[in-house]
Amino acid sequence: MNFFKILRRSILKTSAITEKNIQMHLRWKYTILTAYFAPIITILMPIIVLNKFFEFNTEFGPWTAQNYIVFIFIGYIIMLLRRLVNEIPAELRREKFYKTLSALIVAPFNRFYLLIGYLLSELFMISIPVIIFFVLIFLFYPISFFTILFVISLVIGISLIFAGMGFIIGIFAVSNENIWSIMGFIINLVFWASCVTYPYDLFPNEIKIFINFNPIYFIIDILRWTWIENDIILTITQHPIHIFVFIIFLIIVPIVGVYIFNLIYKKFGISGY
């Protein structure tokens, strides 16, 4: 089969899943609206706390009274993107209970289409607040056109990593809910120690050790560095570990996600109706 035929088939099937998921989300529109506002509540406290610190000209690494809004608003965007980690398992569980997951499993298509379909539908659903907040950040702290393109690439990359994580958790949500709940707890812990809402320098040294081993921290942090440094070459050369972790996770997590999905499904199937 030629490349274009495969590409056409992939696009067709992925778009079918994306369209279906968007239609299902839009069945109850207020649910998605509340999902937009929930992260705002989360960032309110850091805004208040950091604002108080910055009144006394405190600095946390690169974050000052002038640019901390970039930090906070990017935190909001990350929390919206985090929906992928939570929503994909929730979606798979819904599919499990209506046995539509069985319909998808017996359908002749690659699980990558499923992963990308979920990713695109979630990105579509959060696109409005993400764009609004990026525009707000841009107004506070403008960046060059090329940096914007790089930021967009990073956001898509982060989304793919989160979608892969969601997929891994998702298969446990349908096959073993014990493991799913444990994984959910670990994910909460990992995100807590990823400096989404508070800067790295605010944390005590003991927790910093944990943060330094947290890949999610590097993945999120590179987005912030890219914005405030506004120089792609500088960001890549100054933060090689960040870039390395990001690329490795971008390649590995989605592939491992699909592999684990197939493996676990084959071994344990669906349970817990």
Binding site: L12, I17, W28, K99, T100, A103, A107
Partner: protein, 305 residues
């Protein structure tokens, strides 16, 4: 009609229960062969292993032992090729309740690469009296309508083999008959599981009985009719000397059982050939009624298990 399209070889499935390491034998060395175009029914009570067998054959789950060949492909070695040949319907499930009927069918058409699906959806929905409901959310559908939509879905997929697991569960007689009539007209191989004898009797060319994971008997309708004749139930109407007749019949080898009822006797004749001997006895009595009661598949099933 001659080539075998589904064949299982010692198909077994053990479910391991987490507590106390207990095992449940859901399927035990199942060997069946189904010919192309055949409508095959699998009858059994709840928990007999029907859904497990369908799940294995449709590649949803893997067997513990054995394998199956579907249209030339081994389900374990070539599951993707098998998926290209089959359609699966699990009762009224496998449809999205948050979507409209049309959106459901459109989605599956895209996934299964069905061309010109708009026209096909319209036609099939019209045939199943679902057209005016297509743009409504499935959550508003009645049970019967959901089954019809599931049937629409599976028919649209245009697969060679259709696995239908309890497709008429929870439906009223009218809708059941409607669904059965529609399925009769499908020119595909159908593997139907049910615990409704009437549905299987009306639709299927051959029937297998399954219980506790074991296939008890496989045969066509004639085989079963012959089997049924081994215990022919006869209603005899008699006003006088009921007890005397019972006593006389009880002494005969060709009578399995006798039972006195208000206006006569119910007897079970071993075989139809013994009617002559029965008549020679009944001639001595004033019999006003003699009626052979045909055994339904339901009675047969109870007899087999």
């Amino acid at each position: 009609m001659d080539s075998t399209i589904i064949e299982t070889f010692n198909l077994s499935k053990i479910y391991r229960l987490k507590r106390k390491g207990k095992k449940i034998l859901a399927l035990n060395d199942v060997n069946i062969a189904i010919k192309e175009g055949e409508k095959f029914g699998l009858l059994g009570p709840n928990g007999a292993g029907k859904t497990t067998l369908v799940s294995i054959l449709s590649t949803l789950i893997q067997p513990t032992k054995g394998y199956a060949i579907i249209d030339g492909y081994n389900i374990l070695q070539k599951p993707n090729q098998v998926k290209n040949k089959i359609g699966l319907m699990l009762g009224r499930d496998m449809i999205y309740h948050r979507l409209t009927g049309y959106a459901n069918l459109k989605f599956f058409c895209k996934i299964y690469e069905i061309s010109d699906y708009k026209e096909k959806i319209k036609n099939i929905a019209k045939e199943l009296n679902l057209k005016k409901w297509l743009n409504e959310y499935v959550e508003k559908y009645s049970t019967g309508m959901r089954v019809k939509l599931s049937l629409c879905r599976i028919l649209l997929l245009d697969r060679k083999i259709l696995f239908l697991d309890e497709p008429t569960l929870g439906l009223d007689i009218k809708t059941t008959n409607f669904i059965v009539e529609k399925m009769k007209k499908i020119g595909k191989t159908i593997f139907l599981t049910s615990h409704n004898m009437n549905v299987v009797e009306k639709l299927c060319d051959r029937v297998a009985f399954i219980n506790n994971g074991n296939i008890l008997k496989v045969g066509n309708k004639t085989d079963f009719k012959n089997f049924m004749e081994k215990g022919i139930k006869i209603d005899i109407g008699i006003y006088q000397k009921k007890d005397k007749l019972k006593l006389e019949l009880d002494q005969q080898d060709f009578i399995i059982k006798t039972k006195v009822i208000e206006n006569g006797l119910i007897i079970y004749l071993k075989e139809r050939k013994h009617y002559k001997d029965l008549f020679s006895i009944l001639n001595k009595y004033l019999v006003y009624k003699l009626r052979e009661e045909e055994m339904s598949l339901e009675q047969l099933f109870l007899k087999i298990i």
